[in-house]
Amino acid sequence: MNEHSQQHAPCDAGFGELIDQLFIEETLPEPKLSKLHEHVKGCDDCRAHYNRVVLAARLFHGGPEAIDEPSPLELARVREAVLSRARLAPDPPPRSFAQRFLSLRWLGALVAVGAAVAIVLPLALRDDGKPPAGNSSTAPARPEFQTRGAAPKTGKLVGLRAFCVAKGGGVAELGSDNKSCALAGVLKLAYTNRSKLAHVFIVGVDAKHRPMWYVPTPRTGLSVRAEQGAVDKALARTVRLEVNHQAGALRIFALFSQKPLALADVEAAIAKTKGQDLASLELLPLDDTEQRSLLVTLSK
């Protein structure tokens, strides 16, 4: 694509061979494909080679009559690139907590720096607003984990965790020790639900008291099913902070409820809190909910 060219770079043997391999094998493993695409974008020679090879490949998908249309393989390549870019890989099959503990990339950094203390304590799963059994009774209460009202008799064990994935790939949990995440990064959220509550609604409120809808999205508009017994259940959605978010404070609420909450009700509850400092806004005025919230700071 001549409009991509910023500078001339030779199509060296490595990329030339990759293009040829694409013709013979009809596909390439994903890291190679992305690398090739990026290189071809800026390399006149490789782009010329790529264009000629792809045109030739079209002949293998319908003969001369097919030369003017992208082949199914071209369309499939683009599809994989689009899904990959949008971080829309399929959810992995359910795994045990131990498996997730060992394999989740975004927990890897935590494992490295703090071992079990960093993993277990921040869960701050509490019954009736108290620290979980086994925790020191002198442990300071964490403002990001709060219960609203009297705990139901069933006992609510719910939690919310947030992780900041920096643009460079580093992962850090957001909590009392670290509240800051750069806008260039993304947010991963996870909830725990050892209660019998069936639904969860996760929403952010920024410094201007604007709602940031995480789960559900505005179109679906109702709490989603909360997985029973889930521990650190990561939301499939990754929140790209550069979209809609602004630098400043952001409080993230996880609203657990038996019946699904309507987005309009949550929106109205947020509107009622206008003018309140996010630092002290630990609960939204919503009845029949078990709430957890985290205060984070988004930085430029």
């Binding site: 409009e3 490789c46 045109l55 002949l59 319908g62 992208p70 949008a86 679906t220």
Partner: protein, 234 residues
């Protein structure tokens, strides 16, 4: 009724960003969108009617297709789709805006992709004030590949025919069934008395030989070497 407006479950999955839903939407609309991007469209700028000729080089087209869907599948765009109007129109509008913003950004480099429709003269138009919402914006009637592209196309077709002519009868039979009639590997093999395994081996061999043939005839001069790994299998 379009795919999304006729299937509420799919629409919900699409809005959630479910991979299956996005895949289905992509598969449904990608061919038509690729055709739109290849065909080009007309638009008005500074009072002139201009025509974007369309992307004819495979990489240009793949890139534009990828960018369009990446934008269309962003959360904001998914949420902005009303679920009622034809999604194809929505996608086309995104593609059109993408092209026009590229035209603005890379005015000189992309000037060869634009021509004035009013008098037919080739120009390098200023597109700084392109009106992206112009009602004049419409799909062009005919694809207008560049002379360079047309030359390459003709060269390729000649070489292709020469390559096919060199194949023996069994190979030609397989080649025709598999690549021109788009039969499955199994069926194409069976048509010339080959097992599936033999058909698979022959297909790979033919691909390598074709590539070597193209290299040998200068069609792939931009990248000349080393391709010994693709030869010597005849």
């Amino acid at each position: 009724m379009s795919l999304l407006s006729g299937d509420r479950r799919l629409l919900e999955g699409f809005r959630r960003g479910d991979t299956d839903a996005l895949t289905r939407v992509y598969n449904e609309y990608a061919p038509a969108l690729a055709a739109f991007l290849a065909r080009g469209f007309t638009f008005s700028s500074k009072g002139r009617l201009l025509q974007f000729r369309g992307y004819h080089q495979p990489f240009d087209l793949e890139n534009a297709l990828q960018e369009t869907f990446a934008r269309a599948f962003s959360e904001r765009a998914r949420m902005a789709y009303d679920g009622l109007s034809p999604y194809k129109s929505y996608l086309t509008a995104i593609a059109r805006n993408l092209v026009l913003s590229e035209l603005r950004r890379r005015e000189i480099a992309m000037s060869q992709l634009v021509q004035v429709r009013d008098d037919g003269q080739e120009v390098a138009p200023s597109v700084a004030n392109v009106d992206a919402s112009s009602p004049d914006l419409m799909a062009a009637e005919q694809p207008q590949p560049s002379a360079e592209h047309e030359f390459m196309r003709q060269e390729l077709l000649k070489l292709y025919q020469a390559f096919v002519d060199e194949l023996d009868a069994q190979e030609q039979g397989f080649f025709n069934a598999r690549f021109e009639q788009r039969q499955t590997q199994v069926d194409a093999g069976a048509a010339v008395g080959l097992s599936h395994m033999q058909a698979r081996t022959l297909e790979k061999k033919l691909r390598k030989r074709f590539l070597k043939f193209m290299h040998g005839h200068g069609y792939l001069d931009a990248y000349a070497g080393p391709h010994k790994h693709v030869g010597a299998e005849r």
